[in-house]
Amino acid sequence: LKDDAKKSPVRTSQNAPTPFQILYFKYATAISTIPSSTSILTTALILTMSLSLQPGGSSTRAPPTGTLSAPGNAVTTRPITTGTSVLGIKYRDGVMLAADTLCSYGSLAKYKNARRLLPVNSRTLIGGSGEYSDLQAIDDLLRRNALEDRCTADSLYEEENDAEDCAKEVWSYLRAVMYNRRSKMNPLWNDIVVAGFRQNDDGSTSEEPFLGIVDKIGTAYEDDILATGFGGYIALPLMREKYRPDMEEGEARALLEDSLRILFYRDCRALNRVQIAKVTRDGGVLVSDPYELDTYWDFKGFVTNKGEMGTDGGW
């Protein structure tokens, strides 16, 4: 995945395994389960060996653009395990993200305690909707980059550390990754919200908060309020109405919780168990534990039979 940002979409057929590699693979599969690679193989071979012959295929090997896929290479065609909306809002002290903790398997509410708000480094936060496995892959990739940055920085100590990518850099990098994957017709099926701060030219954290979004084809933009998926239809208009640039933390949190509650009422794939996360100038990244939202079902429209309400609607 890390190479996806660097490689150009035009590729030659350099991935076809040689007969030597095939023979090894055949013996390897006879004695071990697919797709684990064995110690017989060198690291150079492992890349092609991880190409499984199972229908899932491997996302590390992608077809050149404009040609048919070689056999064994599947591309993502639809999301399977999905998360719903992520909401983001800038406020006085920084940026706040909110999401529920549900991962749906189609219409089954399969994982009710999934984490969709993930810290990347000490000053950047991402929230992802869409395919959960792709979100985990993105999280791995970004955290691996953050680790490399920390290890190769001028100083190992965090106070002096300006080597970590700020939110805007993470957003730009992620956009390149998503674009490259979509150009190979094998997208990471996610809408990712990136929250944090900008960076000044000298590397110090800027005063200005940053909130940006990247979708699965690489459409990237920033704004003061963002929402993915269903949130764009239901929560975004409400948030735009109530937004002020100098909102206090309590106000921002209340706005996000209200939006999540309304999403729970109206989005079939939402849950009232939610998480809130914030990035502040002094406090860094803070992700809350999941908690339940109160919901109110005594609204007349929910309770009364529509035919009895005297209005024109209903069954």
């Binding site: 076809a16 599969t29 295929g57 599947a74 065609t77 084809i217 459409t219």
Partner: protein, 303 residues
């Protein structure tokens, strides 16, 4: 791969299916099936170590939902609604998305005016109301692009890099007609997986005269007195034919000042915004002259 076939020691001469063999080579297995029926396939190893041929569908030809739908086509523009009324999982992944927007550029004697609305849409949703579609490439040249924002952003990055390399090699910034040619070549380079970008290029040439170039998605271009592209182009082009090119008018044609052209552009975007759902929110207007670029932001209806 199809020519490489390792002979198998296990081949049975009296198998019911003349094409079925046990293969020792992954490649020859797939080649055999593909040559038999042209389908994509993958061999499945059984526990004895041999391989049997099985045909399965991979992502490319998997049909989800009802009915057939077209094979690989670059533009998902199925009709006037840009495919948005189809259910999201009944069509397969499209690398393109229409993000809307309109751009307009008009050239004058010693200036060029370029304008674009600031709305970013996806389907029937407004994603953002203040995204810029204008991108200055040099101090004398601005690129306005509508279409698929991710491709537009990529195109801009590619052009910026090429302009930097040019400036390093030639020790001067690129002249506008050269930029025009380079943009055309860059678009054609991706002829078989195009940038879904509808561009107008506006600037002043080396003599100081206004220059406007119109493009299509694969790089055919032409220098024109004015150019409009994007979702609202059908509303703008006829209006510009009358007002700028002076077609079908009996009064005398005269050269327009830059300020007059800016007023015409504002009226034009109000017109387009009235009827085109993807145009609205605000118009970013730039006047390009030999001595620099002036900017203005004009608010439109937000509906």
């Amino acid at each position: 791969p199809s020519s490489r076939k390792i002979p198998s020691r296990n081949q049975t001469p009296t198998s019911p299916n003349p094409h079925a063999t046990t293969m020792t080579s992954f490649l020859s297995a797939t080649a055999a099936v593909r040559s038999r029926n042209g389908e994509k396939c993958l061999p499945i190893h059984n526990s004895e170590g041999g391989a049997t041929i099985s045909v399965s569908f991979d992502g490319q030809n998997l049909a989800i939902g009802t009915g057939k739908y077209p094979t690989a086509s670059y533009h998902d523009d199925v009709g006037i609604d840009h495919g948005i009324t189809q259910a999201p999982w009944e069509r397969r992944f499209s690398p393109y998305e229409f993000n809307g927007g309109t751009t307009l550029a008009i050239s004058g004697k010693d200036y060029a005016v370029v304008a674009a609305d600031t709305r970013l849409s996806s389907g029937y949703e407004i994603l953002s109301r203040n995204i810029s579609k204008l991108h200055p490439l040099t101090e004398k040249c601005v690129l306005g692009s509508a279409g698929c924002k991710t491709d537009v952003d990529q195109l801009r990055s590619v052009l910026d890099i090429k302009m930097k390399v040019y400036a390093h090699n030639h020790r001067k910034p690129m002249a506008t007609p050269s930029v025009a040619q380079m943009l055309g070549n860059t678009l054609y380079y991706k002829r078989f997986f195009p940038y879904y970008a509808f561009n107008v290029l506006a600037g002043v040439d080396s003599e100081g005269k206004g220059a406007v170039y119109s493009y299509d998605a694969i790089g055919s271009f032409e220098r024109t007195p004015f150019s409009a592209s994007g979702s609202g182009q059908s509303f703008l082009i006829p209006l510009m034919d009358n007002v700028i090119s002076h077609k079908n008018r009996l009064d005398e044609k005269r050269d327009l000042e830059a300020e007059e052209v800016v007023e015409i552009v504002k009226d034009a975007f109000i017109t387009a915004g009235e009827r085109d759902i993807y145009t609205g929110d605000a118009v970013e207007i730039m006047i390009i002259r030999s001595d620099g670029i002036q900017k203005e932001l004009f608010q439109l209806k937000a509906d």
